[in-house]
């Protein structure tokens, strides 16, 4: 029982990290219908920027906040400009779906290796936010993980606020639901797409920072993060933020329980099987729909 509960909790922790991983992907796809195959490397950029600021501190402190701030600004600009100068022209072409995928893949390779040039191959880590742990009944959980879960929940909450109550957020939802409709009411779609990329890159970068505290980072690990994110957004329904969160939690728990009762090696095949079954029954994912 005890190990079951503990595995459940560790599943929920992985799940919330996976949710963080999937958020940025699902935002971009939900609004612009572009599938970001450079997702992993963008997360990694966020993590490396934060690392520059915290590399010498033992436990994350104010320098981390500064790092996060810089990462946010940098990634927003990167996303905005990237959309403006690459995605926008590509989207006007007939085979935009596959060419954007391939472009982002190429960009992924490029940036991965730029990171390798700058930071070298060695593994880096971002220190945990707070050391120590607490016990609740039979379950033990450490502070750092509580903070991660808190940040993920906060991020989801803020995103919801943004989409519901700000003009840009509403415009993004409008674009997601009907592009002609959005044009008719006078929304500058290209600008909104640019903002979307900026926002999604920021979310992705922050998820990268969270991942960096727990998974460590090296220039190549982004792909691994990305593939997991892919499974989750598909499972949850492309473009559905809530679906992605449920999917992430479900898959996190499945992973933990599969490791506990079977063996760690079964995780991927089981993920694939679940994924397949869900797609056969509900091709739009568990919560197909839009942002």
């Amino acid at each position: 029982m005890e190990s079951f509960l503990n595995a459940l909790v560790s599943g929920l922790i992985s799940g919330s990290l996976y949710a963080a991983m999937a958020l940025g992907l699902t935002i971009i796809y939900g609004i612009s219908r572009i599938f970001n195959f450079g997702h992993g490397v963008i997360a990694l950029i966020g993590a490396y920027i934060a690392w520059i600021f915290v590399q010498n501190s033992k436990i994350a402190d104010t320098s981390l906040l500064l790092g996060i701030l810089v990462a946010i600004v940098f990634l927003f600009l990167l996303g905005f400009l990237l959309y403006r100068y690459t995605m926008n022209p590509l989207m006007k072409k007939p085979n935009w779906e596959i060419s954007t995928v391939l472009f982002m893949l190429g960009l992924g390779i490029l940036l991965e290796n730029v990171i390798l040039q700058i930071f070298g191959p060695r593994v880096k880590s971002i220190p945990v936010f707070k050391e120590g742990n607490i016990r609740i009944g039979m379950v033990q959980i450490n502070w750092h993980e509580i903070i991660i879960i808190f940040i993920v929940i906060l991020a989801i909450f803020l995103l919801n606020l943004f989409f519901k109550h700000t003009r840009s957020g509403q415009a993004m939802r409008a674009v997601a639901q009907s592009i002609p409709g959005a044009k008719v009411v006078g929304i500058d779609i290209e600008k909104i797409f640019g903002y979307t990329f900026g926002l999604a890159f920021v979310v992705t970068g922050i998820s990268g920072i969270l991942l960096g505290t727990k998974y460590y980072m090296n220039p190549h690990i982004g792909w691994e993060w990305m593939v997991k994110g892919f499974v989750i957004v598909c499972f949850g329904g492309l473009g559905s933020t809530n679906g992605a969160i449920y999917a992430a939690l479900i898959l996190g728990v499945v992973e933990a329980l599969a490791t506990l009762f079977l063996s760690a090696m079964w995780v991927w095949p089981i993920w694939f099987a679940i994924f397949m079954i869900v797609l056969l029954i509900r091709p739009q994912g568990i919560l197909g729909g839009r942002v």
């Binding site: 190429g106 598909c234 694939f272």
Partner: protein
């Protein structure tokens, strides 16, 4: 419809085939022969991948997985049961075709665009853990080593010619497929959205057919891969070969017959020579991919076409002045 090969291209192709046939006689180093062998196999993989992505519009990202299934099947049969690669390679192809079509094609092809891409990608990604589960047979993370060559005592030159012949046959089959009723229908559909219905073909069924062909041939290529190189391991399924194969299609020119072959050439040779550039190699490659997609979306084939027209114009001008 546009002809796939123009005259001057035909003569160029003939020249290259002659060159490739004669190349080992020039006494190149074993390294270069090795590269050509890789080139032959990757060309086939890329070309049949392009059949799916470029011609039929199935955004598959799992073809490296097909390669691995074919390679592993053939390798295991040859290694554990001592069967001749002549038998095991076709078996590998059939097994790949069946497995992939049944478990992936049937469900995936009912889905739309990006879902197919993700499902096929995840399929390929779950293979390494399955290989580990079955490590008694597949060698797990260590992979299979000392897989017997096509025949005992084989040398690099023989491998070269065997792969060369395979390459030619595979391309011939591909040409036939593209020019079959199904293939032409897909080309027509790609060019005009609403044609599928008017042509009265069952889109799902035809797509499934092409999917089966592509996976079968990629599986066969996997067989040639393992028997030429002697090893296969889950690293074949890692991200780098996957990206390189996609880059071949994109650089060469997606949806063209010769594009993937040219792309394979550039990547196989370019990538190996770039190894001397050290860690900058993949940076350059990534930049190249991005640049081509943005500024040269037709890939090398577009360049070739443009050069062709320019040469034609030049010739015509000469004729006029004469």
């Amino acid at each position: 419809m546009k002809k796939i090969i123009s005259n001057w291209q035909a003569s160029f192709v003939a020249a290259i085939v002659i060159f490739l046939a004669a190349y080992p006689l020039l006494g190149p180093s074993s390294y270069l022969k090795h590269l050509f062998i890789l080139f032959f196999i990757w060309s086939v993989v890329a070309a049949y991948w392009n059949l799916l992505n470029g011609y039929v519009g199935i955004n598959s990202l799992g073809n490296i997985g097909f390669l691995a299934i074919g390679g592993y099947t053939s390798g295991i049969l040859a290694l554990r049961f001592g069967l001749s690669p002549l038998i095991t390679i076709p078996i590998g192809g059939v097994v790949t075709g069946l497995l992939v079509t049944l478990f992936l094609g049937f469900p995936a092809l009912r889905l739309s665009g990006i879902y197919i891409a993700l499902l096929t990608l995840i399929f390929a990604d779950s293979l390494p853990s399955i290989l580990t589960q079955t490590r008694d047979i597949t060698g797990g993370g260590m992979g299979l080593h000392e897989i017997p060559p096509f025949f005992p005592g084989m040398e690099k030159v023989h491998t070269y010619y065997i792969c060369f012949v395979f390459f030619l046959i595979a391309m011939l089959i591909l040409y036939k497929v593209i020019h079959s009723k199904t293939g032409l229908a897909f080309v027509a559909m790609r060019d005009s959205e609403n044609l599928a219905n008017t042509l009265g073909i069952n889109r799902y069924q035809e797509r499934l057919k092409v999917f089966a062909i592509s996976s079968f041939m990629t599986g066969i290529a996997g067989g040639f891969y393992v028997h030429s190189l002697g090893d296969i391991s889950p690293t074949t399924l890692s991200i780098e070969p996957f990206l390189l194969a996609l880059a071949m299609i994109e650089l060469g020119g997606i949806g063209t017959f010769f594009g993937p072959i040219l792309g394979a050439g550039v990547i196989v040779f370019g990538n190996e020579f770039l190894r001397l550039a050290g860690t900058l190699r993949l940076t350059l490659l990534g930049a190249l991919i991005c640049g081509v997609i943005l500024f040269y979306p037709g890939g090398i084939m577009q360049l070739v076409e443009e050069l062709g027209t320019r040469i034609k114009v030049l010739f015509n001008r000469k004729k006029v002045t004469e």
